[in-house]
């Protein structure tokens, strides 16, 4: 008779055989196996399978004598420093190469900044700035003369400047307080 307990045992038998079943499952299965010859036979089969696997699988693929030595020699050859690149040590991960590369990259990054700074200094004008002038008028110069009807096709504009004009100092934009009254203004008031 294949009852509910048998179904439960069969469902958890694999875990039971491999020692992974819960405490409750172990109690139920252990009690049932003592009473049910069918489940007990199935338990013996599964247990036998696991035993065979544990015995046979570690034997699969055992290396031949000398095979591991040959592989070790190949590994050493592959990890050995190349003649053109002396000093590379396994595990050191050729750190000096990374350091050299980093230094070069840093120089490449800093070099343009130094060059730009020198260029900016050279671009500062050494002569005084040109004097400021005031424009008092302009004439349009065309191939047909000044003020002609064809002045719309002007090709040049002549600015007339006041040579006697001198720039006044810029007002103090920060100081907004009204100017102090003069002595004559105070007497009049």
């Amino acid at each position: 008779m294949f009852g509910l307990t048998c179904r439960y045992v069969r469902a958890h038998l694999s875990a039971f055989v491999q020692g992974e079943a819960s405490l409750k499952a172990r109690r139920v299965i252990g009690r049932h196996l003592d009473q049910c010859p069918s489940c007990e036979a199935e338990y013996r089969r599964q247990r036998q399978t696991v035993m065979e696997l544990r015995r046979e699988l570690p034997r699969i693929g055992a290396p031949n004598p000398g095979q591991l030595d040959a592989i070790w020699l190949s590994i050493q050859r592959e990890l050995a420093p190349a003649p053109s690149r002396p000093g590379i040590v396994v595990g050191g991960v050729s750190s000096w190469r990374y350091a050299l590369m980093g230094l070069t990259m840093s120089l490449l990054l800093v070099l343009p900044l130094l060059t730009v700074e020198q260029t900016a200094r050279a671009a500062v004008p050494s002569q005084p700035a040109p004097p400021e002038v005031r424009v008092v008028g302009e004439h349009v110069v065309t191939p047909h003369g000044i003020g002609s009807p064809m002045h719309a096709a002007a090709t040049a504009v002549v600015l007339v400047t006041d040579t006697a004009w001198r720039p006044t100092p810029a007002p103090d934009l920060v100081h907004h307080a009204p100017p102090e009254p003069t002595l004559a203004q105070s007497r009049r008031s």
Binding site: E52, P58, A70, L79
Partner: protein, 206 residues
Amino acid sequence: MSDELRHANQNMPEPRDAEIIARCLRGDQQGYALLYSRYADGLYRLAASLVPTVEDAEDVVQESFVYAFRNLARYDAERSAFKSWLYMIAVSRCRNVYRRKQFTLVDPSALLHLNIPAPDSETPEAMLAQRSARDSIQKALQSLSPALREALVLRYGHGLTYREMADVLGCPQKTAESRVRLAHNRLRNVMQGQGRALLEELVQLG
């Protein structure tokens, strides 16, 4: 085993992996030989269980150790044991072999007849039982997918815990457990009805 590897084995007491790795990172070449002598056999058996030919297994072992030694500074002892890290590298390379060769199943017959010691008992009955068991396992393994075969080999062939299997296979621990259980059930179904009665009588249950 070569003199260098034998010499590496003579250091007593056995240093822990972390100590050997620290020596390697300081440039001690003997440390690499020590790591190789400690794990080469297991790694070769793992590769030979998963890839189709001896040449593939040798390539996997060589590539795995070269990669591990070159990237030793990147190994994180807090994340996994060195053995798990090394096996993970090897399994990854075995999967590359599957993909490259469109290989799905190992030929256990070629592997099972290599270097297997004589059975414990030389009686004809015991030898027959051994042969029957191997034939059963051979047929059963041929029916498994690579994922289930990996789980089975790591669990029973190398005795890894499920936690270690999860690290090696790159999957949750529950997934590793379910793969083993699934492989176990499939094996059992395949191995049923193949002269089990004789085997059960001859092989002592322990």
